[in-house]
C-alpha cells in the first residue's frame, strides 16, 4: 500500500497541484493564430501549385481546349437547330393561319350568298319561304 493510498488527503493535494489553473504565457493566442494562418496559406499554395502544374501539362491543356471547342460546336449546332425549328414552326403557323383565313372567307361567302337569297325572297317568292336551319 502506497502512502497516498493511506491518506486520501494526499491524493486530493496531488490532484489539486496537477490541475491548478495556470494563465497562458503572454502572446500565446497570437502565436496560435499565426501558426494556423501559416498552415492555411501553405495548404492553399500547395493546392494552387498542383492546379498550375496540372494545367501546365500539355496534354491537359489540349484536352481542356478540345473540351471547350467541342462544347462551343455542340452549343452552336444546338442553337442553329433551335433557330431552324423556330423558322419552320413560324412557317407552319403562317400556313395554318392562311388555311383558316381561306376557310373563313369561303364560309363568309356562303353565308353572304344565303343571306342575299333570304333577304331577296320575301319580295319575289313570299309563298315559298319556309323556316330552314342556318349553318
Amino acid at each position: 500500500m502506497t502512502e497516498t493510498n493511506k491518506n486520501p488527503n494526499l491524493i486530493e493535494d496531488a490532484l489539486r497541484n496537477a490541475l491548478h489553473r495556470e494563465d497562458a504565457p503572454e502572446g500565446f493566442v497570437l502565436q496560435v493564430l499565426a501558426r494556423a494562418e501559416q498552415q492555411n496559406s501553405a495548404e492553399q499554395d500547395a493546392q494552387s501549385a498542383s492546379w498550375l502544374s496540372m494545367i501546365s501539362q500539355p496534354l491537359v491543356r489540349w484536352a481542356a481546349l478540345a473540351a471547350v471547342s467541342i462544347s462551343l460546336v455542340i452549343g452552336g449546332v444546338h442553337y442553329r437547330n433551335l433557330q431552324r425549328q423556330r423558322a419552320e414552326g413560324e412557317a407552319a403557323k403562317q400556313q395554318l393561319m392562311l388555311a383558316l383565313r381561306i376557310a373563313g372567307s369561303k364560309l363568309q361567302l356562303a353565308k353572304e350568298k344565303v343571306n342575299e337569297i333570304n333577304t331577296s325572297r320575301p319580295e319575289s317568292q313570299p309563298q315559298n319561304r319556309s323556316p330552314r336551319s342556318r349553318s
Partner: protein, 193 residues
C-alpha cells in the same frame, strides 16, 4: 383458309390501301390538280394532326386572333386547302368541280349549303360530316369565276368555333345587307344525298 391467313388479310388490305384509313380526306381528281399550272396564284395547304399541333405551338397566346386559332385547331385532325386563282374566266370546267362534289354525296356527309348564283356565277357548297351528332368534318367547295377553292377540315368543330372561323381572321363578320330588288342566287340548304 387458315386462321393466320384470315387474320393477315385485313392487315394487308389496310397496309395496301392507306386511302381506306384516310377516307375523310378530300381527294382531288387529276384534272383539278393540273389546274395549278393554269393558275395565277395557287395555295396548297396540307396539315395533318401532328403538323397542326406542332404549328399551333407557335401561335401566340397574346394575339387574340392566334389565340382563337389555337382553340379552334386544338382537336382537329387535319386541314387541307387548295385554292387556285386564275387570270381569266373559264379556266376550269363544271365537271372538274362536280367530280369533287360527288365524293361527298354519301350518307355520312350532309350538304348544308349549296349556292348556285346565276348573277355572278359563284357556286358554294358546304358539306358537314356528323358523327354521334357531333361535327366531325367540314368541306367547302367554292367555285367562282376566276377562283376555285377546296377546303377540308377534319375533326370535331363546335358551332361557335365554326362561327369564329367565318368571322375572324381579318374578315369582318357578315352584316345583313339591305334588301335586294331581285333574286341573285338559288340556294339549297339542308339537302342530303
Amino acid at each position: 383458309m387458315s386462321t393466320i391467313t384470315r387474320n393477315l388479310v385485313p392487315l394487308i388490305l389496310l397496309l395496301a390501301f392507306p386511302a381506306v384509313l384516310r377516307a375523310q380526306e378530300l381527294k382531288l381528281p387529276p384534272g383539278v390538280e393540273k389546274l395549278a399550272s393554269k393558275a395565277k396564284e395557287t395555295v396548297e395547304v396540307n396539315m395533318d394532326g401532328p403538323m397542326l399541333h406542332w404549328a399551333s405551338k407557335f401561335l401566340s397566346a397574346e394575339d387574340p386572333e392566334e389565340r382563337k386559332a389555337a382553340k379552334l385547331v386544338a382537336n382537329l385532325k387535319g386541314i387541307y386547302v387548295r385554292s387556285y386563282e386564275f387570270s381569266d374566266e373559264g379556266a376550269y370546267t363544271a365537271a372538274d368541280v362536280e367530280a369533287v362534289r360527288a365524293q361527298f354525296r354519301s350518307p355520312e356527309w350532309s350538304r348544308v349549303v349549296g349556292v348556285r348564283s346565276e348573277h355572278d356565277g359563284d357556286n358554294v357548297d358546304v358539306f358537314f360530316k356528323l358523327e354521334n351528332e357531333k361535327m366531325a368534318g367540314i368541306v367547302i367547295i367554292s367555285a367562282e369565276a376566276k377562283e376555285l377553292t377546296f377546303v377540308n377540315i377534319i375533326g370535331p368543330l363546335e358551332v361557335d368555333q365554326l362561327a369564329d372561323l367565318g368571322g375572324e381572321f381579318g374578315i369582318p363578320k357578315l352584316k345583313t345587307k339591305p334588301q335586294s330588288s331581285k333574286p341573285l342566287a338559288k340556294a339549297d340548304k339542308g339537302e342530303q344525298k
